[in-house]
Symmetry: C2
């Protein structure tokens, strides 16, 4: 499209654990060459082989909190005492250059993202076909105790209760179809007139 | 999606003459089995082989105007003394049943549609790669005089000036890609949360 330029889309994908979010996000990343890969900040220690700036930016908790305070993180959370966040500067740069970004985070992260970048963020929620299917998928992993499964189901129900805050919803009944649908959301979001500007020939 | 129900989408496609609108709309209709085919009302006489209720609803001008007056048409126009319009009742019924509708009309029709069905209508504008390309496509048809081409270009520029009122824009540089993009707009519009309602398991 030589006559037009568009800002990038920041597609935020959320879902309860077990709905297939990571698989779907990875499938989009694997087949799309206009995506910028966001590297998160974390306060946990690097695992063997993990590299600063490639897998994560590793920061101590005080630095992490200061970054959040300074507005250097678009969204962040502390989970079980560990901080995770999305740095603002690289994403703003990518979007301004017309690159797109996919983030898989939770509904709280989505709210923060939407607040930080209201015109760039598109929210996609992935639902399992039903809670029963979700539970049997979680049980399929086998390693978890009944208590652990009950906890995960409660967390899943909490996450699901926010589905309608998102712009789009995909029900992951059949993986290939769900991937195709998620891809159509990304493609259509790129075509939104509000993100496009046309050259003078069309103004 | 047994747990969910959604209203249909009414995709309105507009474009300047020569941008490929009819080809793209037809490609979507040929490959999609959830579409309701809207039959227009017209005041022109049936051509040989044209059947009432299949190709058009044929009405005289007085009846047509009365229908518009009564709100029985979602959008309508009189062009060179001939009336064309889209009947309301069949489309409202189709959308309520979850069927989708594609209409290829102009920007004025789109405005009327958006006013009549603000929550159901999604607007897609098809642009040629440039005005030069559009002009050479129009010249390629050869049959038209210079005056006719100049008139068409003026009409095209007028239509194009409204592109940003639409929700999505596709630049038809390469037909297959433009069809894929238009299809993603239809598919994504179906996934919009505002059109979906979930069963109680998810509320």
């Amino acid at each position: 499209m030589s006559q037009s330029f568009r800002r990038g889309v920041c597609l935020v994908i959320a879902a309860p654990s077990g709905a297939g979010k990571s698989t779907i996000a990875q499938a989009l990343r694997d087949t799309d060459n206009n995506l910028f890969t966001s590297v998160s900040v974390t306060t946990r220690s690097p695992r063997p082989g993990e590299k600063e700036g490639e897998h994560y930016y590793f920061r101590d908790l005080a630095t992490f909190r200061q970054m959040a305070e300074n507005g250097e993180l678009l969204e962040w959370a502390e989970v079980f005492g560990r901080g995770y966040g999305t740095p603002r500067a690289p994403i703003e740069k990518a979007l301004a250059q017309g690159k797109d970004v996919i983030l898989d985070i939770d509904w709280q992260g989505f709210r923060l993202m939407k607040k930080a970048l209201p015109e760039d963020v598109v929210g996609l929620f992935i639902l399992p076909p039903s809670l029963d299917v979700l539970e049997s998928r979680l049980r399929g992993r086998q390693s978890d105790s009944e208590e652990e499964i009950a906890k995960r189901m409660m967390a899943a129900e909490d996450e699901i209760s926010h589905w309608s805050e998102f712009d789009y919803v995909v029900v992951n009944q059949e993986l290939e179809k769900a991937i195709e649908e998620a891809r159509s959301v990304l493609m259509a979001s790129r075509l939104a007139t509000e993100r496009c500007s046309m050259a003078k020939t069309f103004l």
